[in-house]
Subunit: 519 residues, 2 copies
């Protein structure tokens, strides 16, 4: 026997699915949410215990231009706090640490400095050619999609320092390796987050703030608002049948649900979990095999005191060392100053290599690296350690989000948001701004909800996609660049210039000598 | 209520799953096979109707060194027949057709000829460094895995003709594009089929023969042998629970089955269809997201007479034309000469681009190309058309087999055959010879069955992997190469040589002129 017929069934009680259900519920529709896990929140998960109080082992950060997430925080009265009150970062390279400020660390030489300016400028320039909602329509879409990011770096980055930094940048932002990713997809990803500075920065960027109490609260608030008879946990869906204007949804326990529409708000590769009757359209059937989730283990190492702050550091560090299992740290002290911790990610190949160690082993290696980076033995004496291995999560498949290997975005990308009869698609992967983030999850959830409102005749087509007004207090500032930063030559250009100067000098010398001897 | 407890449950009644079940059944074990489709055979599917009699719209070919498949044919009394009785092939390029014989077509110029020799030699030489059972242990494994085949071609192929031919070779053999595939994976794939000549050739190669009556017969024979109470159709599995030495398997209808062991014989990406309790190990959870199935539509165009044979052609053609939706044809006349047809594949990007056309549109385009290739209007008047779009198949995900994007084989490959507690893994993707083919499916199925016999103490560990003796009549011949073919220079080498000759000549001339004038 099927449950009573609903207007809409949302599959997945992550932030995106719940945002969709919330909007539909507010519009008076009868909506239920079916979740595979025994909790809401998906890739946001705030772990609680006595030692740490709480910690976001999943999605955590928010920054300017993430207006949908900031709006939701206001609505539920969730406060944000700055990740770094002051910025005093560290770059650790070749065994030594150096303080810096700004988005990117010093590269350790004039040529490498030029090189970094050039590469980041090229990434942003190329990104600016890519339409956020349709990267496959970019003028060079196929050419860039058929290359890996590694090929781009081999071509455009001249110095080893910048190649290494860029690899870390890719690892950190898309939890993948440069040789795995389509260049087009990566350029699109950086672009739809606002560019290289916005995506990477703490202050004025994607990691500027965290939520007091953790990010899972949003999902919990929405679930409470919907009520227990609308959000069902531990219900992995295994079958969706569409027939005669009705969608039948069946879970692995044999429970049956009916609705006029379905919103799938699960990560794209997890749509493979479901048997579709009729089967998925041709390209969607293959697309969901071609968008694997990234690889990351998120770690938190707790200390009795925030020794890095005592040394004047903010706790942000970049680590350029092949032997290090982490390449990035952030302060994770609670807003009122308690439970001092450093957060680090174990990323991409390192996560795959080290996931079979014990947590104790990983903790040891991280502490040893912290002691080098912050130059103190205090780092060797943690009081507690938390980590979360997202690679092992059956109901996420990985984190933060999908990545796309070369060639697939231009051939399969259009399928991501294309409804399949009465099934519509949400999930942060289908967003056009901050895709891969909580903000993108809300955008995609609300957009999919409005697609259904439009099909029901409640709104017009041009009301499906709307722009969220800028948040009143958390506002983006432009990234200040100097004339030099905007106009510095590439390393190649600089070397050519040097070559010319030298050639001209030589010719001049030759002419001088010739004249001197002939006369 | 669960069905009675079995020794082994095999999931997937493709050839590999059935080969596993057959072996276990013959050893006296109680085994059942659960299949999602309403038929056995998986990616082998012999379609029957009055117009065509029968046709293999899936896997069809067999050749020397495929000893397991040839042994099975003997066992069931299935006869083979030659695809080409005589070889008189066509290469169509730039609007004109040219006859040829041998594995590879003429390249249309001396430099391109040198280039092809060199590139195929390099592919085979690199392949010979790659262990079939452990490609991740190859001396250059990471370096090659982190590159695409396209990068290799850009580096090693000098001429446009060879780049285009190589692209067609990749399309045809792995139903993917060169910019999508890991170089390591592709080199491994060609190697484990016996090299560039064995994989590509009709006579003496993978396409030498077909089965009288079609290839699905093997699965049907095994299913009959097992009996109706051991092979259950239309039972898509959605859940596997392992607890206390028992594996519980549950299908989407809620039926429950129990066994001591399970063999999963479904394509790797389709393992995502199943909810595992406990969940899959970390790396396997991510691996099954990283091995998409290839893209191919197999087509058959029927004519009243085999006009190509009347012109002295065997029906094999290679087509180098951007506007053509096919790049390869084979004769598909029945062994006794009836039901004349030409077979062609629509491959990789072309399959993705053209899958949304109507079948009638595809037929028209194919016939027009046949009329150009075989230079006759007779090709424009087919009497029947059959095609099979494997991209749309929910229970295969695509065909012929998985492909691997860059970077994944070295990081995730080891997981493919690693048992997960009481679940063992078959499927042609896990084979170490002719993986992707029917022969590989049998190898993997029988190996997984012997893994379980070993766990049951019935055989020793060194009896798990055994080598099939060479078939008595279908035997491989070496591919004859001339001294020139083995030792010709690369185009680069040749041009350098020319440059030296020319430089030496110039110097000589200079000396001569100098002497002449000075004296």
């Amino acid at each position: 026997m099927a449950d009573k017929r609903r207007d809409v069934i949302v599959i997945g009680a992550g932030l995106g699915g719940l945002a969709a259900a919330k909007l539909l519920h507010e519009q008076g529709l009868d909506v239920i949410v079916l979740e595979a896990r025994d909790r809401v929140g998906g890739r946001t998960y705030t772990k609680h215990n006595d030692v740490i109080n709480y910690v976001d082992v999943g999605g955590a950060y928010v920054g300017p231009t993430q207006n949908l997430l900031l709006r939701m925080a206001d609505e539920f009265g969730v406060k944000t706090y700055l990740t770094n009150k002051v910025e005093d970062l560290v770059i650790y390279r070749k065994g030594s640490s150096r303080r810096f400020r700004g988005s990117f660390p010093p590269m350790g030489g004039f040529l490498a400095h030029l090189d970094l300016l050039q590469v980041s400028r090229v990434v942003d320039q190329m990104g600016s050619e890519i339409p956020e909602a349709a990267p496959w329509n970019a003028p060079h879409a196929e050419e860039w999609d058929n290359m890996t990011v590694q090929e781009f770096l081999d071509k455009y980055a001249w110095t080893d320092a910048v190649k290494r930094f860029a690899t870390g940048f890719v690892n950190l932002n898309v939890t993948s390796e440069p040789y795995e990713c389509s260049l087009l997809w990566f350029l699109w990803y950086v672009r739809q987050c606002g560019g290289t500075h916005r995506i990477f920065s703490t202050s004025n960027g994607g990691q500027e703030r965290k939520f007091v109490g953790g990010s899972q609260q949003f999902s919990q608030h929405i679930a409470r608002k919907l009520g227990k008879d609308r959000v069902f946990l531990s219900k992995p869906i295994c079958q969706i049948k569409q027939e005669q204007g009705t969608v039948n949804v069946i879970d692995i326990h044999g429970n049956r649900y009916q609705a006029s529409y379905v919103i799938s708000a699960v990560p794209l590769p997890l749509q493979s979990k479901i048997t579709f009757d009729p089967p998925l359209p041709t390209l969607r059937n293959q697309m969901i095999q071609r968008v694997p989730m990234g690889s990351v283990i998120k770690t938190f190492t707790y200390y009795s005191k925030p020794f890095w702050r005592e040394q004047g550091y903010c706790g942000s560090a970049m680590i350029d060392d092949d032997d290090s299992i982490i390449n990035y740290t952030l302060d994770d002290v609670k807003p009122e100053g308690g439970k001092p911790a450093l957060m680090s990610f174990i990323l991409a190949d390192k996560a795959r290599k080290l996931c079979n160690l014990t947590a104790e082993d990983r903790k040891q290696r991280i502490c040893q690296m912290y002691s080098k980076v912050f130059q103190t033995d205090k780092a060797l004496h943690p009081v507690h350690y938390e980590e979360y291995n997202w690679l092992a999560e059956q109901w996420s498949g990985g984190c933060y989000t999908v990545m796309m290997p070369p060639g697939f975005l231009t051939k399969f990308g259009k399928e991501m948001r294309r409804p399949f009869d009465r099934i519509h698609f949400a999930g942060t992967e289908t967003a056009t701004a901050w895709s891969g983030y909580m903000d993108g999850a809300i955008q995609a959830g609300e957009r999919s909800a409005r697609e259904i409102l439009h099909r029901l005749g409640k709104i017009s087509e041009n009301q499906i996609w709307i722009t969220e007004p800028e948040h009143k207090t958390v506002q983006p500032r432009p990234f200040e660049t100097t004339f030099w930063e905007r106009n510095s030559p590439s390393v190649g250009g600089f070397l050519t210039f040097l070559g010319l100067v030298s050639a001209v000098s030589s010719v001049g010398l030759g002419v001088y000598l010739y004249n001197k001897h002939v006369q």
